[in-house]
């Protein structure tokens, strides 16, 4: 019996020590943001600064510029583009309050991110960057299948209104790979640690949660006029 209670005491010491150890680990993990580190570079590319700094949406004289680092295979980026971005576009960009700039940050964990980024650049070459981006984000199932999306992107380019022969030639040349890698390295230098990452005036914005469409409740409609006044009106006219 004494041996049993001694064994139990040892067990409680081990349990307590484990609890302290796990608690400390949890604290460290939460402080470091879950161990998300800057993505490692993918296959090396020759990096040349061609002076390109991303496509922009909105007026040049808008008082605020937001830079978004994006990865086209990232589900959160797709969620942001399809759920939050339409409202931002309507309420902030089209009203000239904000100018939006997109930079590429293909994560190494995603197989076709660079390929997709290149597709948007080939769209941009024909003046249809945003149309191509919308096609990739609104038809995002390609990012879940793991299959080569080359054929699908060709169709999406067509849907975006691109000249597909020119698009195919652009994709075959890989001429924007260097530009995309330059953007990614720029993101690294700014300590981008995932996508989407936003900068406002050079300051990194941190969102703990992206609001969902359900979470976005529109402002309540103005209260209807009191019933008394409503019914009184016809009488007043008489």
């Amino acid at each position: 019996m004494a041996e049993g209670s001694g064994g139990l005491n040892r067990f409680y010491v081990v349990l307590g020590a484990l609890a302290v150890l796990l608690g400390a680990t949890l604290f460290v993990l939460l402080r470091s943001g879950g161990g998300s580190t800057a993505a490692a570079a993918g296959p090396p590319h020759a990096v040349v600064d061609d002076g390109f700094r991303g496509y922009t949406l909105g007026e040049g004289h808008a008082p605020v510029e937001i830079v978004e680092y994006v990865d086209y295979e990232c589900p959160i980026c797709a969620q942001f583009a399809t759920i939050q971005m339409p409202t931002i576009r309507q309420q902030l960009i089209e009203t000239a309050k904000v100018r939006w700039r997109v930079r590429d940050y293909p994560l190494s964990i995603h197989q076709y991110s660079r390929y997709a980024a290149h597709a948007t650049q080939c769209g941009g070459e024909q003046g249809k960057f945003w149309e191509m981006q919308d096609q990739l984000f609104y038809n995002h199932a390609w990012a879940q299948t793991g299959r080569n999306p080359g054929r699908l992107f060709h169709d999406l380019a067509k849907a975006a209104g691109l000249n597909v022969d020119q698009y195919d030639a652009c994709m075959a040349s890989g001429k924007y790979a260097s530009r995309i890698e330059f953007s990614r390295e720029e993101g690294d230098s700014l300590l981008v640690d995932g996508t989407p990452t936003f900068f406002l005036g050079g300051k990194k914005l941190v969102f703990r949660r992206l609001p969902t469409s359900d979470a976005h409740t529109p402002p309540p409609p103005p209260p209807p006029p009191p019933p008394a006044a409503k019914t009184a009106q016809p009488h007043e006219r008489h």
């Binding site: 879950g34 990232c74 980026c77 995932g194």
Partner: protein, 151 residues
């Protein structure tokens, strides 16, 4: 006794994993974005990550707390000889393992992404289930008779 001790230790580790996932789900500890952790973002932002209005991880937290409490209660000297505690642990572990199996099915065949933390939790609850079953199969020692003085 060793089995119940193992279950308590495993439940503590499982609790740590579930608390971490739950804190992430409610927005504490790191921004929600795609990063080096791969599939966790996909899983945590999928529509299956919420069950009855609460993050799935919260049910993990509750489950592991209950298993931990029951395992500690079953380690009291008076409970060590009672088979009912072992049955209760098997029941709890079975419910947890079935729920986890459903979530893992969703990850593999519906969401097509695996979150390594969720996978870790699945391993832990499976181990708890195996250990609790093994404990039940062992014959329970009869309560030791009270010491009697020689006539």
């Amino acid at each position: 006794m060793r089995h119940r001790q193992a279950i308590a230790l495993l439940a503590l580790v499982g609790l740590f994993v579930a608390v971490y996932l739950w804190l992430h789900a409610i927005g504490i500890g790191g921004a929600i974005k795609c990063g080096a952790s791969g599939g966790c973002e996909v899983v945590q932002t999928s529509r299956w990550a919420v069950f009855l209005g609460q993050p799935v991880a919260l049910y993990g937290v509750i489950g592991y707390v209950v298993i931990l409490i029951v395992a500690l209660a079953a380690l009291r000297p008076v409970a060590l000889v009672q088979r009912g505690w072992g049955v209760l642990l098997v029941g709890l572990a079975t419910v947890g393992a079935l729920f986890t199996a459903y979530l893992t099915y969703l990850e593999l065949f519906v969401i097509h992404a695996i979150c390594r933390w969720c996978f870790g939790s699945a391993m832990i609850i499976t181990l708890i289930w195996i250990v609790s079953l093994a404990a039940l199969r062992r014959p329970f020692a009869a309560p030791s008779p009270p010491p009697s003085s020689p006539p």
